[in-house]
Symmetry: C2
Subunit: 265 residues, 2 copies
């Protein structure tokens, strides 16, 4: 049976990244796009609960063989709506991206691109979150195109009952400069915020822009996604859909928190 591929992104359906991804995916099966009408960058795993969602069919934007819809909802809403109201069977693959800007390390938590892939995995579907190091809408996507093809072929060839959710980051380099694809783990890091203070032009009120510097806790480690990208590899990190910290759970059960002994209050 022909493969069924569901595509969304968090930059909105017009972005060059998703149009590129649609062109790649068409070589591998029937493509259905359900994408947001606007950008949801930094909106993580958001769902729209407090207002309704509008969805309309999109004609004459993507190639004719692509079934496409635009939604006022988030990337997560798009995946949910596709699975429940549009697709007649479970897709073989969810693709999210190609995002303009990287989503390595803890940015995986903030990213709508990654959130959509995780939502696919929640539903038992292999998923790829695809992000490019450059924020430039005219960035060179040649390497991303080559490596996305390889990853789609790999995903379709693996024999894994549980869904695989891969967070993929492409470095901003020419294909000839690439050292290949590297399985990695997420870099331990934090954003050191700097809120830029400005004053409203029409009234004496201060406002703040959230900006910050990324601080890498382990620049020397060679098995991280950030190291891979900085060293001309495409970084591929399998993501968990279970946020439980089992190590700490075991530690707390055996010698940490004593709460287990305070049964009845």
């Amino acid at each position: 049976m022909e493969k069924l591929i569901l595509i969304t992104n968090d930059d909105g359906y017009r972005a060059r990244g998703i149009r590129t991804l649609v062109d790649i995916a068409r070589e591998y099966g029937h493509v259905v796009v359900v994408a947001p009408e606007k950008s949801w960058s930094g909106k993580s795993h958001s769902v729209t609960l407090d207002q309704p969602i509008y969805v309309h069919a999109l004609e004459n934007f993507y190639p004719q063989d692509v079934e496409a819809y635009v939604s006022t909802g988030t990337p997560i809403d798009c995946i949910k709506f596709a699975l429940n109201n549009i697709l007649t069977r479970k897709p073989d693959l969810v693709l999210s991206g190609i995002n303009h800007g990287p989503n390595y390390s803890i940015n995986s938590y903030y990213s709508g691109t990654v959130g959509a892939a995780i939502e696919g995995a929640f539903n038992g579907i292999h998923s790829l979150a695809l992000s490019h190091e450059s924020f430039d809408p005219d960035a060179n996507l040649s390497l991303a195109i080559e490596h996305t093809k390889i990853l789609i072929e790999e995903i379709f060839s693996i024999n894994n009952e549980a869904p695989v959710c891969l967070n993929v980051n492409f470095p901003d380099i020419e294909p000839a400069e690439s050292k290949g694809i590297r399985l990695s783990r997420l870099t331990r890091a934090v954003w050191k915020e700097e809120f830029v203070e400005r004053t409203h032009p029409g009234r004496p009120q201060k406002y703040y822009w959230l900006t910050g510097k990324f601080y890498n806790f382990e620049p020397e480690a060679h098995d991280t996604d950030l190291w891979a990208i900085k060293n001309n590899y495409t970084a591929v990190v399998p993501l968990t859909i279970d946020l439980t910290d089992y190590k700490t759970l075991q530690k707390l059960k055996t010698k940490g928190l004593t709460i287990k002994n305070k049964k009845q209050l």
Copy 2:
């Protein structure tokens, strides 16, 4: 030195849950509240990147000894702003909640309450996400109050260099009915969505409300958070701040994806 406790939530600063939490926390140290002015339920780990944030000091709402600020930003923005622009030292504890409605299982991904606690842990601070099973703003919070006190005392007494991030869910029962606090793992589950279709009152346009039913993949397991709550325990799950799936990473490295062999394209 007096403990410094930072509090936020995702229901907005007026909610009864956060007011209750402030009253509890005052017994343990100096409390600073930086909370959203409106509800951000279901907005996960969202940050505000596309517009500025307004923050103002809040007077005469919480008790006088509480330092309080209200922000137009998300719960995550609130934590970031507090750490960078308000607090003069790193707090000893981040408290998020008490949320009106539960955040067990995969709801941890969708929840702004949990997102704020994870943001605290990113910054090296012990954090508690606190959620009550009932959505009723007038729910009985007596058990939540008792157990939150125990958990704050436990957190302050543990000797763990790495920050501990606990996702806490209180059952909607009387304290006398409680069987205690139970260390658990997140339940494997999914939301089976049902989009309710309606028509706009003023124009012939359909819209959709996102609703759904929670589907538990492992109702028989006794070590899950949902089992704990349904059996009159307060569920406590340590959360990871590293989304890497190490088991799958190892599997892919050794026998799964062959991408590691395709070094140079």
